[in-house]
């Protein structure tokens, strides 16, 4: 799965995690969740698959996940027990500076 188009929704093949692509790099990347490549939101996860023990950090609803370069940004729309990685490099939660409510 090549998540290059903003707005694309993906799901984990091994846990409940769902994400939406906010920004994506121009090159193809190997996006994984729970150690397994993520699949299109419309696809069904293979039965019986589970998270790799090294990728069980979990995802949190409403958090944004970014890669080190800041090219990739994902919004978690459904949480799960797997963690998000590019190949084996973990994505990190984007720290948002709190803003005063303006509306």
């Amino acid at each position: 799965m090549d998540p290059r188009k903003p707005g694309t929704r993906l799901r984990s093949a091994v846990c409940d995690t769902e994400v939406m692509v906010i920004a994506a790099p121009a090159v193809a990347i190997e996006l994984r969740c729970g150690g397994a490549p993520m699949i299109d939101i419309a696809e069904s996860p293979p039965p019986g698959a589970s998270c790799h023990p090294d990728a069980k950090g979990g995802t949190a609803l409403g958090k944004r996940y970014v890669d080190e370069a800041g090219d990739l940004e994902l919004l978690c729309t459904k949480p799960g027990e797997g963690s998000l990685t590019i190949a084996k490099t973990p994505l990190t939660v984007k720290g948002a500076k709190p803003l005063p409510s303006s509306d």
């Binding site: 906010i22 409403g62 729309t77 948002a96 005063p100 409510s101 303006s102 509306d103």
Partner: protein
Amino acid sequence: MMLLEMATSAFSDRVALRSGDDQWTYAELFAAAGSAAAEVSAAGTERLAVIDVSSPAVPVGLFASAWAGIPFVPLNYRLTEGELESLIQRITPAYLVTDTDRVATLSKLPNTTVASRRAFLEQAGSGTAPPPSWPMEPDAIALLLFTSGTTGAPKAAVLRHKHLISYILGSVEFGAAGEDDATLVSVPPYHVAGVAAILSSVYAGRRIVQLPNFSAEAWIDLARRERVTHAFVVPTMLARIVECLEGSDNLDLPCLRALAYGGGKMPLPVIERALKRLPGTSFTNAYGLTETSSTVSVLGPEEHRAALASDDETAKRRLASVGRPLPGVEVEIQDEAGRPLGPGERGEIHVRGEQVSGEYLGQGVTLGPDGWFATRDGGSMDAEGYLFVDGRIDDVIVRGGENISPGEIEEVLLEHEAVADCAVVGVPDEHWGEAVAAAIVLGKDRPASPEELRTWVKDRLRSSRTPERIEFSKGLPYSETGKLLRRKVRAQLRGDAS
């Protein structure tokens, strides 16, 4: 729609919306949006328009449109029948939701399906929501907002899902609201701030409390009764609220933590009085336009407090600014040739960023080649990036070849203790092309002569900026969203002259 789905999965039983005695939880709002979407899709319409005050039909309609994959069009319920008809013609085939009185008239229009607010909400509340499934197309049109059309026929500003999502993700932390947080929405739904308030509140998990018709007394009463913690008002609303609070010593708003304002220029005396009367409330000034998906720049609570407490002129002056751009938004002041200007130099405010649309229906995208949106607002930026807005460029007075910004003269006039409100406009003049004229509303405390006010301005600005004509007036004409109707002031001052 994704925003509501996320909020529903996180706090489904929390109250999302209160309107009068009715309330809807997130789960109920979600189901209602799905059910209404099925109804609207079955009618085969291509847009969903709501012609109503701030009622539950607005959030239900907004999310139902997204679910059905069609644009949402909130229309101004104060327009005349003829004005509404001509706007509706531009959005058909359309599903229209309106108050009972209007159903019969609107039903006669071709290519429309009309439902009363009541019937629409009953169907939405009792129907069965289809399984969650909606188009996720960031480039699809989410919202059409007709501008007020002060300079010609109203234009329909186009906001796509990508613009709104970018605004919400850039400015609101998901689920940041506490269980008891509530926001009071008193701006009408056809104003971009009315739509933005719904989206921000839903994403933050903050209960929306709707006030259909604004009056300062009703606003204060509802804020107290519903233990409102957050609100957004336009300057004219804040002026009336402060007046009402000052008239009664034991009236307070103990729960109100944050009050944001925008949508027009805030007179300095009003915000200073508000800060003094509500010391426990954090104030935020938000500047934005319909075409930029609402707020692009904010002056935060700390800066408000610093300005009030400080003797430093720079810090004090900041109270007259709209603060600094949001992360992800760039602001630049450009001259007429499109060259960027330096700190303190006056020019046209340009905005760039993912939430900026700059598109109108039938006219396409009006952004410059490098993505800048020309706001038609004049202003300047100081060395630390604080933005000052002078006013609409089209309102600039050209007197003998010199460009004069009405805002600058109005600020000076408002500093005079006798002046409660004022508007400065250009009127035709044989000698200068245009002459500076001012309509002045005097306060109750003391009178002032035109001569006294002219000297006041002359001493602080220069003589070319001194109003040649001054008329006293009981009140100035404002739109219901707090915009000063300068063309009416101009007509009045011109009429008196002839």
